[in-house]
């Protein structure tokens, strides 16, 4: 049975309309509702389903970030993860933390914890990078199954259905592997109140990148963060004929 590591990120809630800071250094995050990255919820759900099918023995939920990241670890524990690891990174170091740094942390933890399977979301909805699974796999020299919409345990590895541009693709990977969850992999469960209470008793270990021997030196410099160009508000047209008129004006129809 596999020992599974799931990566969970605390991000600004997907329904929040974000605001760029007036000094153009970033996006305002203080006092704003945060929650678990939606793709990571799917990753946790998949791990929990594997445990329910007796394919996984233990699920370790890891989050890299400031103290509040423990909230998303608690959520993962309430969904069914067994224990948590909080890798403490905050302030300016966190602002410039890249998926490469997180991948190095996950790879190191995977080795220390003798993990056989890592599942993460395909991308975080804040930085929209879509890199962590791929880079963690590279660092461990494990196969990668990205954008998974179906994961099956077959033989000595996995058979994975992936979402690609033209449709779907099936690949086989050996185990151990790193997989990334796409939206259609599953529907995450809600944590029930009794499970939320139980999750409070589950252990969360706190470590730092330094403890793990991971260098988090900045790889990028933020030049500026700006609002996207604002589209000019258009007009509401009275009927289909007016719309056809506008399409003709724009040269879209003859």
């Amino acid at each position: 049975m596999a020992r599974v590591l799931v990566g969970v990120k605390r991000v600004v809630d997907y329904a929040v309309k974000i605001r760029v800071k007036p000094d153009k250094t970033g996006v305002a995050t203080e006092g704003i509702k945060h929650s678990m990255n939606p793709f990571d919820e799917i990753a946790v759900e998949e791990a929990v389903q594997m445990k329910e099918k007796k394919l996984a023995s233990e699920i370790v939920a890891v989050s890299v970030g400031p103290a509040q990241s423990q909230e998303v670890i608690r959520t993962a524990l309430a969904m069914g993860a067994d224990r948590g690891i909080h890798v403490d990174v905050s302030g300016a170091e966190y602002d410039l933390l890249q998926p490469l740094h997180v991948s190095k942390i996950l790879a190191k933890l995977a080795q220390e914890e003798k993990i056989d399977l890592i599942i993460v979301g395909k991308q975080a909805i804040d930085d929209d990078s879509n890199q962590t699974a791929q880079m963690t796999a590279a660092l461990l020299d494990w196969p990668q199954g990205t954008f998974c919409s179906k994961i099956e345990k077959t033989g000595d590895g996995f058979t994975i259905t992936r979402e690609i541009d033209g449709g779907l693709e099936t690949i086989k990977t050996k185990s151990p592997a790193v997989l990334s969850a796409d939206l259609r992999l599953n529907t995450p469960r809600y944590a029930t109140l009794p499970n939320i209470m139980k999750a409070k008793k589950k252990p969360i270990k706190k470590v730092t990148p330094k403890d793990l021997g991971v260098d988090t030196a900045a790889r990028i410099e933020i030049v500026s963060v700006n609002d996207p160009p604002v589209r000019q508000a258009g007009a509401i047209l009275p009927d289909v004929d007016a719309l056809i008129g506008k399409l003709k004006e724009g040269g879209h129809v003859k």
Partner: protein, 330 residues
Amino acid sequence: MFSQAPKPLSRVFSQLHRFQSTLVIAEHNNNTLTPITRNAITAAKAIGGDVSVLVAGKKCGAISEALSKVEGVTKVLVAEKDAFNGLTPESLTPLVVALQNQFKYSHIVAGASAFGKNVIPRIAAKLDVSPISEVTEVKSADTFVRTIYAGNAVLTLKAKDPIKILTIRGTNFEAAKDGGSAAIEQCPDGDYNTNLSEFVSQELTKSDRPELTSAKVIISGGRGLKSGDNFKLLYDLADKFGAAVGASRAAVDAGYVPNDLQIGQTGKIVAPDLYIAVGISGAIQHLAGMKDSKTIVAINKDPEAPIFQVADHGLVADLFKAVPELTEKL
């Protein structure tokens, strides 16, 4: 004396500029080149310096011929091997790392398609470089623009790593045209077989319509369509424009259409000349995928739908009446 200072400085800069050399990783299906590769070549040209293109695969002949004629390409490197069946990142990464060690590129670039997103970060990690995803603009050889938070903020960043590894957003760069004559060379030989992963099969959605990410006109449907059968209304309208048909996540999740039609933060990013959103409310995640379209038309019965805030032309109407009427009158 001081007035002369800028001159030598700019000369130094232009020399540095000349030393840029970019490797573009071509995406193809053994028969045809995926169009986003041409957009990636344009981004590579914007960086400056030489542009080499790597064609790896089971069959590379036609693709490398086609690429050698693309304007701005200096060299086409070919690696034709069964090991590259299905273009798995586990087989391609050691090849690109070997090329990097030999040719010392300053930049490695691919289109931000499912292929590019899958392979580029693996290469970057092997080279200990922090990659930059979905670049929308090249400011200079080390300064790039990309969007974050589902397109609601624009980040300009300077990459500090010695090698810059990027995926580029296809809709933000023109497709490179034909008009070049590059040399075709074989990649140095190597064993790229991997037992880590194996390509099994692909099930591609069959369609006579233009490919979604390069279509000039897109008609897109959402939850308001109410069923998969009703998408026929959109296909009929699309025929009038020679348009591609897309969908919101709600329509995909409801099973109306396959997921590869999904437009948005988690689906495809499109920027056609004309985008007609039918029965789509306009959630942040959907807007992330289409708000760079030149003209946006929204047809929705809810006047409060957020889609009307980005639409150039809005029609508050029942789509089941308005769409057939539009199709008929065009």
